[in-house]
Subunit: 269 residues, 2 copies
């Protein structure tokens, strides 16, 4: 089975990456600035991404690759219709700033899409080294064992909500922040991949981020939808595989509560 | 030496508590509501607090105890002048909601004050089981080894700032949240004790919380001041050992940046 072949390979790649990262811990890092003063990349991000690209090119020549550090500019420029392609979306280190500061709370993310439909998503949680994966219409697995949610649904008052940094400090997200009042408390790890893991384990009931790129959400969306959670942007639209998007991931009841709250915001304006 | 005797006992107590908590993990919990719907306490909090109170009463009869779950109402009602007393301040589980939801990101906190001056502070980080402690004017220790900060100072742009939930969602903290723009990113664990550990390890450069009780800050303040960090409430006043207080803990330069920002807030109003 074609997807099984990919699964076997991806597990091998993740094992190699895990060993590589563990060996690189506690070493001096080469850190470079990308677009902004706080948009940083390390030599570890780049080495992992190059490794994955090489493996994909060897085993699946001709398939498109959208990686955080080497994004195919033809995709970014919309010169390729990804809805017609076989597409890999990878984030070698999701939570690079966490990796730099604490070496905690980061993840490795790999996703594979066909004609715009997520076929396989992988998150390796680098705190625990647990690998979560999902195939389209085949449920969620943790370390290759069937994974069940604690509860298939949860309301806001039953758990924590996580926000990304910009939701916390930008004035225009005032109404979104007030969702924090309706839940047990507000959290934030700085890694969208780990936020997906926290949702799967029901450590949180919702995650809201003002701006995420395809490599932040490619794997998470497959895993969370396969687990029965809901996803959209702040306006309720489906998440896109290109460009930057706001993101809501939540348990169904919390998702409805959040959109009800956001709709009322518009009515009040 | 009197403080050494306390140190030996407290280490024994923490070892007992650690073993007890580990045995209690993954069991059904008895959870009770305290003041609000999201102010919860478990049987584990109460059993640990009762254990500590009993130990203190056996070894140090007559000394005052201010514990989260059984706070001496004479202290809360200001019928006792704690500035004249030998006072224990304990939080059996700091981060109870985290303990309930994820069994991650919580801590055990013990502090001992004489005449209002912190003599000994202990934080047991229950993610790693590391015990951080400090004696007055004798520096900080991690697992009984001398602990040095990575850098004795840090500016906001060099690290993360952590907020508590209310700072994130209450409108009146708009200006405080904007400090998030000046740093690497915003984080929040939901445990003031762990935020102190994150500061000691320079995973963050500042922590701001809208309202903390003496048992949240009793140990942290001793450890952080002993490490050379700064503390105050949002108005720049010294932290109090009674009642609820806003709290800023930060590296010296970040502390100055934050108070400069908050002062400008007042001028702009």
């Amino acid at each position: 089975m074609e997807l099984e072949k990919r699964h076997t390979l991806i597990k091998e790649w993740l094992a190699v990456i895990k060993d590589f990262i563990i060996k690189e811990l506690n070493k001096e890092r080469i850190i470079e600035r990308k677009s902004h003063w706080n948009d940083l990349v390390t030599d570890v991000d780049i080495l992992i991404e190059n490794y994955l690209i090489k493996q994909i090119e060897i085993h699946f020549p001709g398939e498109l690759i959208l990686g955080e550090e080497t994004a195919d500019t033809r995709i970014a420029m919309n010169q390729i219709n990804i809805e017609e392609e076989r597409l890999w979306i990878i984030d070698p280190l999701d939570g690079t700033l966490n990796f730099i500061t604490s070496q905690k709370d980061y993840a490795v993310l790999i996703a594979y899409y066909e004609k715009g439909i997520g076929q396989a998503g992988y998150i390796m949680d680098m705190n625990s080294y647990d690998v979560y994966h999902a195939f389209h219409n085949q449920g969620v697995y943790k370390n290759d064992q069937t994974f069940q949610l604690k509860n298939s649904d949860a309301q806001l008052y039953e758990g924590f909500v996580a926000f990304n940094s910009k939701v916390v400090y930008l004035e225009r997200y005032e109404k979104i922040r007030q969702i924090g009042k309706k839940c047990l408390g507000v959290r934030g790890t700085g890694s969208a991949g780990l936020e997906a893991v926290n949702l799967l384990n029901q450590y949180t009931v919702a995650y809201l981020s003002s701006s995420l790129m395809p490599w932040d959400i490619g794997a998470a969306t497959i895993l969370l939808e396969e687990a029965g959670l809901k996803s959209s942007d702040f306006e309720g639209r489906d998440l896109k595989l290109t460009g930057s998007s706001s993101v809501i991931y939540a348990y169904p009841s919390s998702f409805n509560e959040i959109h009800h709250h956001l709709k009322n915001e518009k009515n009040e304006q």
